[in-house]
């Protein structure tokens, strides 16, 4: 038994986790203070602490991943270790799904329950009559019970282009992956580079869309429940696209500069690809439920 067993690598002591814990502390404590300072126009150290925390986190991630990559390149990882990584990444993506589920839940609740109830649906006729008799339920909610008005973001135009861009990026990423598996390094580099460019284009158009929303449509974060769900859902999605693009960029640099990954051993690449496809699926749900319907 023991002669057949591929040793499961248990790393020695590592300074990175405690650095990461300090980084998260600085981020949380800094952000907590910064939010108070910025909303009350006070000066303080919160923002600096937050930035220092983010810098420390990046420093930690670089150091930690460098160790992991070195260990992997030195052949310390067994097949069993590879399975651990894969399962870890899958469960992490599941946790991300649940994070978005909370915001989609809020969206559906507002659309199906909260807004109609405010207009007297169900047994809430007296609520509507007493509180906001003039309020009319609609989605997108362009005039809130409190009277804030806004305009809806149409799905044609930028959101549609962005959908097409992300869908193509998923296809290019798939071809990058087949390139890697068939040892066609040229195809891998080309397709992966293209995916990252498409991701960047998506983010650029998202910024253009936000500017358009704020300047032309008067659609803002505080424009009632429609603006709230619109910006938090697309905003968190955009943040995930950014992280996914950085993740892919690191893979690209490892491939181009260091010639990492082989046709059979490329977990990091695969994890980045899973993450990208996940972000893509979230966007499709967003496009359908936030923009079109």
């Amino acid at each position: 038994m023991s002669d057949k067993y591929e040793h499961y690598y248990v790393p020695e002591q590592s300074p990175w986790p405690i650095v990461g814990a300090v980084a998260l502390f600085m981020i949380a404590f800094g952000a907590g203070n910064y939010v108070n300072e910025v909303t009350k126009d006070q000066s303080g150290y919160g923002g600096y602490l937050l930035l220092a925390g983010i810098a420390t986190l990046i420093f930690m991630l670089v150091g930690w991943f460098r160790n992991v990559i070195d260990e992997s390149m030195n052949g310390l990882y067994s097949k069993q270790m590879d399975r651990s990584f894969r399962q870890c990444m899958s469960w992490f993506i599941f946790s991300e799904v649940m994070f978005f589920a909370a915001f989609f839940g809020a969206l559906f609740y507002a659309r199906i329950i909260a807004v109609p109830w405010l207009d007297g649906a169900g047994n809430n006729a007296s609520t509507a009559a007493v509180l906001w008799p003039a309020f009319e339920a609609a989605w997108p909610l362009l005039k809130t019970p409190g009277g804030t008005e806004t305009q809806a973001m149409p799905w044609q135009g930028l959101p549609l282009y962005n959908t097409i861009i992300l869908l193509i990026s998923s296809v290019t990423l798939h071809f990058a992956h087949t390139g890697l598996e068939q040892n066609k390094r040229g195809q891998l580099k080309l397709m992966l580079g293209l995916t990252i460019l498409l991701g960047a284009a998506f983010l650029y158009l998202q910024v253009v869309e936000y500017i358009h929303a704020y300047q032309d449509l008067g659609l803002k974060l505080d424009s009632g429940i429609y603006g709230n769900t619109f910006f938090l859902l697309t905003g968190f999605h955009g943040l995930h696209v950014t992280l996914g693009a950085v993740f892919l960029l690191v893979m690209f640099l490892r491939i181009v500069l260091k010639n990492h990954f082989t046709a059979h051993k490329h977990f990091a690449f695969q994890a980045a690809a899973w993450y990208w496809h996940f972000v893509d699926v979230v966007w499709l749900c967003l496009f359908v439920f936030v923009y079109v319907l």
Binding site: I27, V35, M98
Partner: protein, 530 residues
Amino acid sequence: MSTVTTDPHAHAEHEHHGPAKGLKRWLYTTNHKDIGTLYLLFSLLMFFIGGAMAMVIRAELFQPGLQIVEPNFFNQMTTVHGLIMVFGAVMPAFTGLANWLIPMMIGAPDMALPRMNNWSFWILPFAFSILLASLFMEGGGPSFGWTFYAPLSTTYSNDSTALFVFSVHIMGISSIMGAINVIVTIMNLRAPGMTYMKMPLFVWTWFITAYLLIAVMPVLAGVVTMVLTDKYFGTSFFDAAGGGDPVLFQHIFWFFGHPEVYIMILPAFGIISSIVPTFSRKPLFGYASMVYATSSIALLSFLVWAHHMFTTGMPVAAELFFMYCTMLIAVPTGVKVFNWVATMWRGAMTFEVPMMFSLAFIVLFTIGGFSGLMLAITPADFQYHDTYFVVAHFHYVLVTGAVFSIMAAAYYWLPKWTGHMYDETLGQWHFWCSLISVNVLFFPMHFVGLAGMPRRIPDYALQFADFNALISIGGFAFGLSQLLFVWLVVKCIKGGEKATDQVWEGAEGLEWTIASPAPYHSFSTPPEIK
């Protein structure tokens, strides 16, 4: 259950180094036993900090009228007591037990991702420092109850809310990483031959708990984020004037919150299922049904959240749905209690401290379960809602349930961890003092609650005075009794009768095949399970 075929000591690791020296050992460690110890000690510290807050609450409620603290400070105490006990004491204690025991129980070299394991732990002291520090801010700490209902936490909360939100965020990151580590360890690092249906029940219950954690902690992150933007950035998720709804907060919170209460009790079921067979000297009755019962409880936990909200506005059909789903949970829970009793039936029983705590758990948790059933009845809940009856219910399931199981586990595995037997006499003293005082503390809460005393108030009507004085005396006695436990643990670490490898005559499982104290690295090569 599993049988080990090989020589007990063959797999203990000898070639590797031992622990590093000094503070670095604890800061940089990747060893599941070190990290388990850190979790357990941290949890004990938080148990006393949260307990001290409970003492403030009980001191204020000793007599009617406002005597000791301001109402605003009283609210901060109830809020932070709840947050600390849930996220700082009970959850880390179970994670610590998981860290110590799961690799030894399934024959794994360590947790699947040892560095991430260290990160999960070390986030916690920082997260709770932020939460505790917020108590000293101008305007005080969070005072909206541990459930932070909107609009208490949005429109009416103080400046500490942002710190509360971000500290919950990083606690959540810690919990999710811890849970991923547990679930991957169980799925991927079981020794050859250890099939799922041969795993000890503690491993099974943690497997399901980890799944629940990964599913609901992100939802908690989502809801605190909405609280943050509602309070600071003008969104109106929980404000009807903007088209939102305060009830939406309760739906999202309890979608997290109800699975969360099972997160705090399923590992307890696993512990009791380990201890009762040992001291009954019989295998566990109905192993498979225990596994299925645990899974059913976990699945049902996603369908019952709105039973916390019967009085806050829902269509009648929804109230009935949530009522019946909640009552359904009594069935798998009843299966478990039946199996524990059936395990003891005609067993050769002895009554060491772990068994005493387990027996108390079975009786008192069942009382908490029954009061839960009473609360599940929608029309009756209109009377019980937000009274001390609710406080009595969840303290029976969390103190005499979760905390008693943690105590039982500590006594049961202390000899394996330290290599010394604990002081049995002192342990029995700790048990009996705890048992009597905890019932003096929580049982009369049922009566004052049914008589209409609301929860979360610093003052009350005169007719509740006698019972409240009694409750407070029980509370102080229970708090003091726990000092016996600290004394006992210190004594046990320092010395005592040498423990054998098996420790308990009837104990079965891989962790009892390795030396006591467990070597720094156990099972570098997996044992074979027949």
